[in-house]
C-alpha cells in the first residue's frame, strides 16, 4: 500500500467522507459544515497537485480492488483523467463557495451539501475509472446522487423535473449496462487502454461492435444531452443555481461527454472506430445537436433555459471532436471539456446572482442590469463572448482546433456547422449583452433580496463567477503556456494516437 496505490482512493475519499459526515450534521451547524466542505475541497486540490506532478513524470497511479473473481474495481490516473479530475475539483471548490453563499437561508442544507459532495465523488470516480465496469458503477451512482439535488426545492415543478431526469438517465444507464455486459462477454476485462482496448480483439464481428457502440453511446448520450436524448436537461434547470452550474459544467452533462471520449478513444480506439465506420453517425448526431440546441435557445426568454439549450449545443462540440479522426480535432474536442465548463459555470453563477439578488429570471427583465450589477454582468459578458468564440476567451481555442482539425480530416462540413453555431450563439447572447449594458431599466427589479451596498451582492456570490470568468479568459489567453488545458490536451492526444 504505497502512495501510488492510495492516491486515487485518497482523492475520492476527500470528498466522500465530508459528504457522509455532513448528512449527519444539523442544518444550523453552518461553520462546521463549511469547514468540512472547504477543507475537503482544499485537501483534494492539494492531492491533485501531487497527482498532476506524478502523471507528468510518468508515474502510474492505480488502485485495484477485487470485487468478484475477474471483476475489478479500478481507479487510476492517466492524462485524460487528470484533466477531468482537475476540472471537477477546481470547479467543485468554487461552486461550494458559491453554494454556501447561495443557500444561506435555504432549508435542508445538510442534505443538499451531502449530496453535493457525493455527486462530486461520483464524478471523480468517473474521471478516474480504469475500466468500463467501474465507469458504469460511478455513472449510476452519479444519477442517483444528483436526483435529490435536482428536486431539492420540492416544488411540483422540481419533482416533475426530477422524475423526467430519472427516467431518462435510468433508461440511458440501462442501455449502457447492457452494452457493457455484452462487450464484457465478448472481450473479457474492459480496462481502458490508450489507442483502444479492442485493438487486441479483432475477431469480434462488425455487427456486434456496432450495436454495442450504439448502446454505449446511446446510454452516454442521454447525459451528454445528444438530440434526441436531451429532453431532461432544459427541465432540470429548476434546480438551485449552484446545482445547475455544477450539472452543466462538470458533473452530469460532462460525465456523459467524458464517457463518449473514453469509449471512442480508450475502448474502441479512434483508428478502430474510424475503420468500423462508427464515427460518422456520431459526428452527424453531434452536428445536429449543435445546431438544434442553438436554435431552441433562441426562443427561450427564461435565462436559465436559454443557457440549458446552449449547453446542449456546446457540449456536443466535445462529441464532435471525438467523432472526427485527426489529432487536431481531438484536441479541440477534449480541451472543450475544460473550456465549456469554465464558461458555462460562469454563466450559471451569474444567472443565479441575478435571481438571488434582484429576482430576475427572464431575459426581458434584464434591461439595464449592467449598471446595478456591473461585475456580475462583466463576468457574464466575458463568458458569453467566449461561447460565441471571440478570442482570446477559451471558446475560441476549442473552435479553432475543431475547425482546423475537421479540415485536416477532410470534413469541411464541420466548418459550416461551426459557423452556423457561431452565428446562432451571437444571435442569442448578444441581445442579452446589449440589453444589460445599453438599455435603461423600465420597471423596478422584480424582487430585490439583497440591497446594493458597497458590493452589488453577497461576496460569496460575486467572487466565484469573477474567478471562473478570469480563468476562462486565462486559459484562452495563455493557451500555449505550460500546463494550460490546451497543452495538457495535446499531451493526452499524443498518447491516444500512439504518436
Amino acid at each position: 500500500m504505497n502512495l501510488n496505490y492510495c492516491l486515487p482512493l485518497l482523492i475520492l475519499s476527500s470528498s466522500f467522507l465530508p459528504g457522509v459526515i455532513i448528512f449527519f450534521l444539523h442544518d444550523d451547524q453552518v461553520r462546521l459544515r463549511t469547514t468540512l466542505n472547504l477543507a475537503g475541497a482544499g485537501v483534494q486540490l492539494l492531492l491533485i497537485g501531487r497527482l498532476i506532478h506524478g502523471v507528468f513524470n510518468d508515474q502510474i497511479y492505480e488502485a485495484r480492488l477485487n470485487l468478484l473473481p475477474g471483476m475489478d474495481l479500478v481507479f487510476n490516473a492517466d492524462a485524460l483523467s487528470v484533466l477531468f479530475v482537475t476540472l471537477s475539483t477546481g470547479l467543485w471548490f468554487v461552486t461550494t463557495v458559491y453554494a454556501i453563499g447561495y443557500m444561506e437561508k435555504a432549508p435542508n442544507r445538510s442534505r443538499f451539501f451531502g449530496f453535493f459532495s457525493l455527486c462530486v465523488t461520483a464524478t471523480l470516480g468517473i474521471a478516474m475509472a480504469g475500466n468500463l465496469l467501474t465507469f458504469l458503477i460511478c455513472y449510476e451512482i452519479l444519477t442517483l446522487a444528483t436526483y435529490p439535488l435536482v428536486t431539492h426545492k420540492r416544488t411540483p415543478e422540481a419533482m416533475r423535473a426530477g422524475r423526467i431526469y430519472l427516467t431518462y438517465t435510468l433508461i440511458g444507464g440501462m442501455a449502457f449496462l447492457i452494452g457493457t455486459a455484452w462487450l464484457r462477454a465478448l472481450a473479457g476485462p474492459l480496462d481502458f487502454t490508450e489507442t483502444g482496448l479492442l485493438a487486441a480483439h479483432m475477431d469480434i464481428s462488425h455487427l456486434n461492435l456496432s450495436i454495442i457502440f450504439l448502446l454505449l453511446i446511446g446510454g452516454l448520450g442521454v447525459k451528454a444531452a445528444l438530440v434526441p436524448l436531451h429532453g431532461w436537461l432544459p427541465q432540470a434547470m429548476v434546480a438551485p443555481a449552484p446545482v445547475s452550474a455544477l450539472l452543466h459544467a462538470v458533473a452530469v452533462v460532462k460525465a456523459g461527454a467524458f464517457g463518449i471520449v473514453r469509449v471512442v478513444y480508450d475502448v474502441y480506439g479512434i483508428e478502430h472506430a474510424e475503420q468500423l465506420g462508427l464515427l460518422a453517425p456520431l459526428a452527424a448526431a453531434a452536428g445536429v445537436t449543435i445546431i438544434y440546441g442553438s436554435i431552441r435557445a433562441l426562443y427561450q426568454d427564461e435565462l436559465k433555459k436559454r443557457l440549458a439549450y446552449s449547453t446542449i449545443s456546446q457540449v456536443s462540440y466535445i462529441a464532435l471532436g471525438a467523432a472526427i479522426f485527426g489529432p487536431m480535432a481531438s484536441i479541440g474536442g477534449i480541451v472543450h471539456l475544460v473550456h465549456q465548463g469554465l464558461m458555462k459555470i460562469t454563466l450559471f453563477f451569474c444567472a443565479g446572482n441575478l435571481a438571488e439578488t434582484l429576482g430576475i429570471h427572464r431575459i426581458s427583465e434584464m434591461r439595464g442590469v449592467g449598471r446595478r450589477m456591473p461585475w456580475t454582468m462583466a463576468a457574464f459578458t466575458l463568458a458569453a463572448l467566449g461561447m460565441i468564440g471571440i478570442p482570446p476567451i477559451a471558446g475560441f481555442v476549442s473552435k479553432w482546433y475543431l475547425g482546423v482539425g475537421a479540415l485536416e480530416s477532410g470534413e469541411s462540413w464541420v466548418l459550416v456547422v461551426l459557423a452556423a453555431s457561431t452565428l446562432l450563439n451571437a444571435a442569442y447572447f448578444l441581445p442579452i449583452i446589449y440589453s444589460t449594458w445599453f438599455q435603461q431599466p423600465e420597471a423596478p427589479w422584480p424582487h430585490e433580496h439583497i440591497p446594493a451596498s458597497r458590493l452589488e451582492t453577497h461576496w460569496m456570490l460575486l467572487l466565484p463567477p469573477l474567478l471562473t470568468a478570469l480563468l476562462a479568459l486565462g486559459v484562452g489567453l495563455l493557451a500555449n503556456a505550460p500546463f494550460s488545458p490546451l497543452v495538457w490536451t495535446k499531451f493526452i492526444v499524443q498518447q491516444e494516437y500512439g504518436l
Binding site: 449496462l177 456591473p374 468564440g389 475560441f396 481555442v397 482546423v404
Partner: protein, 574 residues
C-alpha cells in the same frame, strides 16, 4: 533592440492597461488623460528607423508574434497618429456637447478599439490578428451607439450584424487558409496553396471592413452617428484594417489571380462613382464623408485588383497603395474632426474654419500640390503596368476626381449652411486640429516611399491635369447652386440596405412557415398516436400520459428491480 521589443509589446497593451482602469472610480477620472498617451508607443515605434525585430511570445494565445514590417510601419504611422489626435481632441469636443453625452464610458470603448486597431497591425500570427481584429470591431460598437438615441442604436444594430458576419467569415477563412500551413505565423503562409474558398471568405471578410460596394451599407450609418473623433478613426484608420487584411492574407505579388483581379478593379471603379453620387445626395456632412470613404476605398480596391493582375509589379503597386492609404487616412481624419469645429462656430470664426477645412477637402479632391494629387499621380503611373486600356482608365480616374471635387464642394456647402448644435469648441482643441492639418499636408510628401512620384507630381503637365477636374467641378457646382438643384434629391444613409432587410424579412417569413408546418405535423402525429392507443386527444396529451405512468411508485421500483437483476446476471455470468 530592447526598446523596439518593449514598444511592440506596449503598442497593443498600453491602451488595454488603461482600459482596465475604467471600472475603478478613482482611475476613471484620469482616463481621458491616459487615453491621450495610449497611442504614443505605437507612434514612436512607427517613427523609429525600421529593423526587423520580432517579439515572440510562444505562451500567449496560440503562439504570438509581434513584428513591424515595412507595410505595417506605414499603417501603424497613420493609425497611431489618428488615434493620438482623436483622443486628444475628445475632451474639448465633449465640452461643447450636451451634458448627457460626456460620459467617460466613451474612453473605455475608445481605448479598447485603439488596442485592437494598433494590435492588428503588429500581429504576425493568425490567432492574435483575429483577436485584435475582433477586439477592434466589437469595441467600436460602443463608439457607434454612444449618442444613445434611436438612430444610433439602429446604426449600431446594423453595424454589429455585419461585424458578426465578418468575424464568422474571417474565422472560416483563416482556418481554411492556415490548416495546410501547419503553423500560424504569417511568414509561413508564403508558398502554401490554400483552397480557393479560403480566398473567397477572406476577401469578403475584409471587404466588409473596408466598405467595398454592396457590403458598405453599415458604413454610412455607423460613421454618420458616431461622435466626430470616433468617426475620424473609423473612417481614417479602421477601414484600412480591411485593406491591411487583404495585404496580409491574400497571396498578392506571388500568383496572378486574373478573375479576382478584374472583379476587384471593376468593383473598385464602380464604387468610386457610386460612393460619390450617393454622397452628393446626402443632406448631412458626416454621412457625406462616409460615402466619400466608400468612393476612395474603391480606388484602393482597384489598386489591390491591379496587384492581382500583375503580381510581378507588386513592389511598386504596394508602394502606391500605401501612399494612397496614408493620404486618405490623414485627410479623412482631418475632415471628420473639422466638422464639429465648423458647425459649432459662428460668424467670422466659422468662415475662417471653413477656409481651413477646405485644405483637406482639396487634398481629397486631388488639387495641385496636395497629398491627394501625389497619390493620384502614383495611381496613374501604375496604369500601364497592368492594363492595356490606359486611356480609358485615365479618363475614368479624371472623372472620379471630378466627382470627388463635386462631393467636397457639396460638403463645404452643407457646412456653410449648418446650424450650431453645441457651444464652440475651445481654442486648444482647434489649435490641435490645425496642427493635424499641417501634418496631413506634409507627411505624404515627406514619406520616403513617395520619392518615385514626387518629381512627376510637380511637373506642369501633372499640375494642369490635376487642376482641370477641380475647375470643372467649380463651374458645375456654381451652376447647380445658381439653378437651385442641390437639394432636389436625397438618399437616406445606407442606400441599398432596404434590399437586405427585405431579403431577411422574406427568409424569416419562410422560416415561420416551416415552423408552422412542423408544429402542425407534430400535433397531427400526436393526436393520431393518441387515437391509436384509444385516448381522446384532448383530455390527456401523450407526454402527459407517459409522465403520469412514470410518476407511479411501482414504475420506479420495477425499474430498480430490473436493474438489480441485470447487475446480478452480469456478475453471475462473468
Amino acid at each position: 533592440m530592447m526598446l523596439i521589443k518593449a514598444l511592440l509589446l506596449l503598442t497593443p497593451t498600453l491602451p488595454l492597461l488603461f482600459a482596465v482602469a475604467y471600472p475603478f472610480a478613482r482611475a476613471r477620472r484620469i482616463i481621458p488623460r491616459l487615453a491621450t498617451i495610449a497611442a504614443l508607443p505605437a507612434l514612436l515605434l512607427a517613427l523609429l528607423p525600421q529593423n526587423p525585430i520580432a517579439l515572440d511570445l510562444p505562451w500567449l494565445l496560440l503562439g504570438t508574434r509581434l513584428e513591424l514590417d515595412s507595410t505595417g510601419q506605414v499603417f501603424l504611422g497613420f493609425t497611431a497618429f489618428l488615434w493620438l489626435i482623436a483622443t486628444a481632441y475628445t475632451p474639448g469636443y465633449f465640452r461643447s456637447q450636451p451634458e448627457q453625452q460626456r460620459q467617460p464610458r466613451f474612453f473605455l470603448w475608445l481605448l479598447l478599439t485603439m488596442a485592437g486597431n494598433l494590435g492588428l497591425i503588429v500581429a504576425q500570427d493568425a490567432a492574435s490578428f483575429f483577436l485584435f481584429f475582433a477586439l477592434m470591431s466589437f469595441a467600436a460598437y460602443g463608439l457607434v451607439v454612444h449618442n444613445g438615441d434611436a438612430q444610433s442604436r439602429y446604426a449600431g444594430r446594423i453595424y454589429l450584424t455585419w461585424v458578426v458576419i465578418g468575424e464568422v467569415l474571417l474565422f472560416c477563412g483563416l482556418s481554411l487558409c492556415f490548416f495546410p500551413a501547419d503553423s500560424l505565423y504569417l511568414t509561413d503562409l508564403t508558398g502554401v496553396s490554400s483552397p480557393e474558398v479560403a480566398t473567397v471568405l477572406l476577401v469578403l471578410a475584409f471587404a466588409i471592413k473596408a466598405g467595398v460596394l454592396l457590403l458598405h451599407v453599415w458604413l454610412p450609418l455607423a460613421h454618420g452617428v458616431a461622435p466626430a473623433p470616433a468617426s475620424a478613426v473609423l473612417s481614417g484608420a479602421m477601414l484600412k484594417a480591411g485593406l491591411l487584411g487583404w495585404l496580409r492574407f491574400l497571396p498578392l505579388g506571388e500568383v496572378a489571380m486574373t478573375t479576382w483581379g478584374w472583379l476587384f478593379v471593376t468593383t473598385g471603379l464602380i464604387a468610386t462613382f457610386y460612393g460619390a453620387v450617393v454622397g452628393l445626395l446626402q443632406c448631412k456632412p458626416k454621412p457625406l464623408l462616409a460615402y466619400s470613404s466608400v468612393s476612395q476605398m474603391g480606388l484602393l480596391t482597384l489598386l489591390v485588383g491591379a496587384g492581382m493582375l500583375a503580381p510581378e509589379q507588386w513592389p511598386l503597386l504596394s508602394q502606391v497603395i500605401l501612399l494612397f492609404a496614408l493620404h486618405h487616412a490623414l485627410a479623412k481624419g482631418a475632415l471628420f474632426l473639422g466638422i464639429p469645429l465648423v458647425e459649432n462656430s459662428r460668424g467670422t470664426a466659422k468662415k475662417r474654419l471653413i477656409g481651413a477645412i477646405t485644405l483637406p477637402a482639396l487634398a481629397l479632391a486631388g488639387a495641385p500640390f496636395s497629398s491627394g494629387m501625389l497619390a493620384k499621380v502614383g495611381i496613374k503611373a501604375t496604369l500601364p503596368l497592368w492594363s492595356d486600356s490606359v486611356q480609358w482608365l485615365i479618363m475614368l480616374l479624371t472623372l472620379s476626381s471630378l466627382a470627388t471635387s463635386l462631393l467636397m464642394l457639396r460638403l463645404l456647402q452643407l457646412l456653410y449652411r449648418s446650424e450650431p448644435h453645441g457651444s464652440p469648441i475651445n481654442p486648444a482643441t482647434t489649435t490641435l486640429w490645425l496642427f493635424s492639418l499641417i501634418v496631413m499636408a506634409l507627411t505624404t510628401w515627406l514619406w520616403p516611399g513617395s520619392t518615385p512620384f514626387r518629381s512627376h507630381a510637380l511637373s506642369a503637365d501633372a499640375l494642369l491635369s490635376a487642376s482641370f477636374p477641380l475647375l470643372l467641378a467649380l463651374a458645375l457646382g456654381w451652376g447647380a447652386v445658381r439653378w437651385g438643384i442641390t437639394d432636389r434629391w436625397s438618399v437616406a444613409p445606407g442606400d441599398i440596405l432596404w434590399i437586405y432587410r427585405h431579403l431577411i424579412s422574406r427568409i424569416v417569413q419562410l422560416w415561420h412557415f416551416i415552423e408552422r408546418l412542423l408544429v402542425q405535423a407534430h400535433t397531427t402525429l400526436t393526436s393520431a398516436l393518441q387515437l391509436l392507443i384509444g385516448q381522446s386527444p384532448h383530455r390527456h396529451t401523450w407526454p402527459g400520459r407517459w409522465e403520469s405512468y412514470l410518476q407511479r411508485w411501482e414504475t420506479g421500483s420495477i425499474t430498480f428491480v430490473i436493474l438489480i437483476v441485470l447487475l446480478f446476471w452480469l456478475l453471475l455470468f462473468f
